[in-house]
Amino acid sequence: MHRVLALASLIFILLVTTSGVGSNSVSQFRNIKYQTQQTLDFPVAQINDRVIYDGVEQKDVTLYQYVSEEGFPVFYSRNVHTGVCYDNQCKLLNITLYWNPTGRYLGFELVDNEFLSKEDHVPFTDAEYVRLNKLLSDPDLPLGAFTFNQIAAKSKASLYKVDGVSGATAKDVLEYVVQGSAYTTFTLYELVYGDTKTEVESWTNEVMNDAYLENVLTKSPYQDQLWAIDLIHGRILDYPRSKEIVLDLMGAPDYSLAEKCLNSVVPEDLTEIEFQNKLIDKFQFFDFGMKSRTVELLKETTQISLDVVYKLNAFLPDLEVPIVSGVLDVFLEKGIDDPTTLQTIKEIANSENRYLAKKAGDYMDRLGN
């Protein structure tokens, strides 16, 4: 894409981003353009480019990165010039696709006077563009599980009058495509979720820093937050400000957000005692599964601080039986034998639950005086 054209597109994107949420029909503009929610709404100050290989088009293509003044990737784009071929016929697809820095689909744009068409070259209606944009924005769309071969099989099926007898029926595919444009929808879906997406994520990862992560974790849509949390798995100590946000999000009411935050932590992270303490401060608010996971992390880390030991001691009476059992394992493994802990364990040894009582008794035999 020529730089000027890219900048024109950029201006468009910034214009239509103002509403921020959902799909925007922009048929009043000269070009046909649709987009979804942006990860971050920063003004673009610079455009970088790099050549990547795209497996769908099977050739080298140029990927553009749009960067803010702070050096934050704002979005990415690339031009697509490819044939959509079926039944020995090909139709040229000339379109610009946009991605968010997290690899999430951002939108598409057609160059001047270009339009997408269905069978017999009937142009898409506004509603069909909206539907296409919606389909492309769903990373879990079952269309992703289809193959071109399966879709192609549908058209030939009628020749043998066996369509619907076996294999996924045409009806199955129709739910996930713009009607009359199955191949175009499928090709675009493959392009959106293919190699370019991976390249986008990788490029963003290369320039990732704490400030950028902080913005994504606090200001971006839900899916982008999850992406950022996945990204910092095992690297949380490298991002001090983001680390605090991740700790906060462990208490989020959204289960997956909270669970992913906890699972981004690896045992090595707990070697930082301050982090270990902060994690245990969250512990009492965790559900059973997250408490279980935290105990596993403590088992696998090399040391636990005395503060953490005291806090766990205080929590013990209210904890679920398997968690108490896990905490005893942690204490035993780390050789915890301070008087407070031994007193707590002595009380557990008198517990009505014989399983816990036996475990605590064994502990006292090993480490008690």
Binding site: F148, N149, A153, G167, Y255, S256, S292
Partner: protein, 459 residues
């Protein structure tokens, strides 16, 4: 060894062979004799599958003596031995509805295998399997065994019950295993056989549909490039093979493309598959394997499939449905789809109504916000004492059962059964007389979730 040594050794061996079958290193054993064992335990869990292994761990964690007998060589049942290693559903409408022992193990298996959980906050829509959790079945079996042993459970593989007699407030259970006959005296029985075999032997009434859901042999095929196949030609060849009587449409749901696309994953249907006895299970396994072999031979003759091969196959077929007990309460389809909550609801069970037939399966998703529950009474056979059933054999009609039979629900039922058996011993009552409030509290104290229960165990 030189030539002379070799010859002298052969000579010695020849002498040995003519005089006795013993050579150096062998030990003469007396003729084989079955060992008789007399064991005593608090709780006997029969069947170490999806529900039974969880029930045993839960019961063990209450501090009672627990013995678990399992007719196969490992724990986990359908998840591990049958290879249906994608349990679900633990979440409904963005909230966790099944936790506790099962969740603890699933979470550990996911973490240890370097996998990640699906996003349960995003609605699954019609694709409920998106919220199922792919597990490494072998790892899950190892973790189950470790947790059982850690909870003090006496695990006895290769054993199955042959007789159950109740007298003087105890059960006397005879089992047979490899070279072992055991008589196990216990206070409470939890039948997690999946077929209610123990309930049947004990003389309690069972139900079975005239037509049960088919079973499935899990396997994986490979050695072909799906994208390069001429699917239309293949469909036609498949239809022709069915017309000629070479293949049976129902064995792969009439969908040869799905067999190839999914590489065999959970696509086979074995009509009438029943795991209740060694004879019926043998028949189901043979039918499943014959069907696979037949289809493999057919596929190998098709263009692009000359190198198709089996990459993995589980040792036995997974069974969806056999017998259900006649319990104190029968869960109906209506109860299930309306999410009825009972005073004695001890677990949630969230899954669509999922009746597999010869034609295939079209799941009926539950209406938004609906989460069915399991009443404890449905786990107790009528006229029984000190006897609980957990898993797919609980008292329910076929449609309700098609939803509640799934693995996460079985885990929740297993946990409830383990807790109930322990509490019944402590209270010296039969399970039907248990104070339900105390049972719910005990389940929660062990991390389980009970319907409408307040989180009594949280700090």
């Amino acid at each position: 060894m030189n030539r002379r040594d070799v010859l002298s050794t052969i000579g010695a061996l020849s002498v040995g062979l003519t005089s006795s079958a013993i050579v150096k290193g062998d030990v003469l054993k007396k003729p084989y004799k079955t060992i008789d064992r007399k064991l005593e335990t608090d709780i006997l869990v029969i069947g170490g599958g999806t529900a039974g292994s969880i029930a045993a761990i839960q019961a063990g964690r209450t501090g009672h003596q627990v013995t678990l007998i399992e007719c196969q060589s490992q724990l986990g049942g359908t998840v591990t031995t049958a290879g249906v290693a994608f349990p679900g559903l633990f979440f409904a409408w963005g909230k966790q509805v099944i936790s506790g022992v099962g969740w603890e193990l699933v979470q550990s298996a996911v973490q240890m295998n370097g996998d990640s959980l699906p996003n349960f906050s995003l609605p699954h829509g019609r694709e409920h399997w998106k919220h199922q959790i792919r597990l490494n079945a072998s790892l899950y079996a190892l973790l189950l065994e470790e947790k059982c042993l850690e909870a003090g459970v006496n695990v006895r593989y290769y054993e199955t019950p042959t007789s159950l007699v109740f007298k003087d407030e105890h059960w006397y259970v005879e089992t047979v295993g490899k070279g072992v006959r055991a008589e196990i005296k216990c206070k409470q029985i939890i039948d997690c056989s999946g077929n209610a075999i123990a309930a049947s032997i004990a003389g309690y009434k069972l139900f079975k549909e005239k037509v049960t859901q088919p079973g499935t042999l899990m396997f994986r095929i490979g050695g072909y490039d799906f994208e390069s196949l001429d699917l239309e030609r293949l469909k036609i060849a498949y239809e022709m093979a069915i017309d000629r009587g070479e293949l049976i449409r129902g064995e792969f749901r009439g969908d040869i493309i799905a067999l190839l696309k999914e590489k065999g994953d959970n696509v086979q249907h074995i009509e009438g598959a029943d795991s209740t006895t060694s004879e019926t299970h043998t028949e189901a396994n043979i039918k499943g394997r014959e069907s696979l072999l037949k289809h493999l031979r057919f596929l190998k003759k098709q263009p692009g499939l000359g190198n198709v091969r089996i990459e993995e196959m589980r040792t036995e077929a997974g069974i969806r449905e056999t017998y259900r007990i006649d319990g104190l309460y029968r869960i109906s389809y209506e109860d299930y789809i309306t999410g009825k909550v009972y005073p004695d609801s001890i677990a949630y069970s969230y899954y669509p109504v999922d009746l597999h037939t010869v034609e295939g399966v079209v799941p009926e998703q539950l209406a938004e916000g609906v989460v069915p529950t399991i009443p404890f009474r449905s786990m107790i056979p009528k006229n029984s004492r000190n006897f609980i059933v957990a898993g797919r054999s609980i008292c329910s009609d076929q449609l309700a059962n098609s939803g509640l039979r799934v693995q996460a629900s079985c885990m929740a039922m297993g946990q409830a059964a383990g807790a109930a058996a322990a509490l019944a011993i402590e209270k010296k009552v039969t399970p039907s007389d248990l104070p339900i409030g105390e049972l719910k509290k005990l389940i929660e104290m062990h991390g389980g979730i009970v319907p409408l229960g307040k989180k009594t165990s949280k700090g």
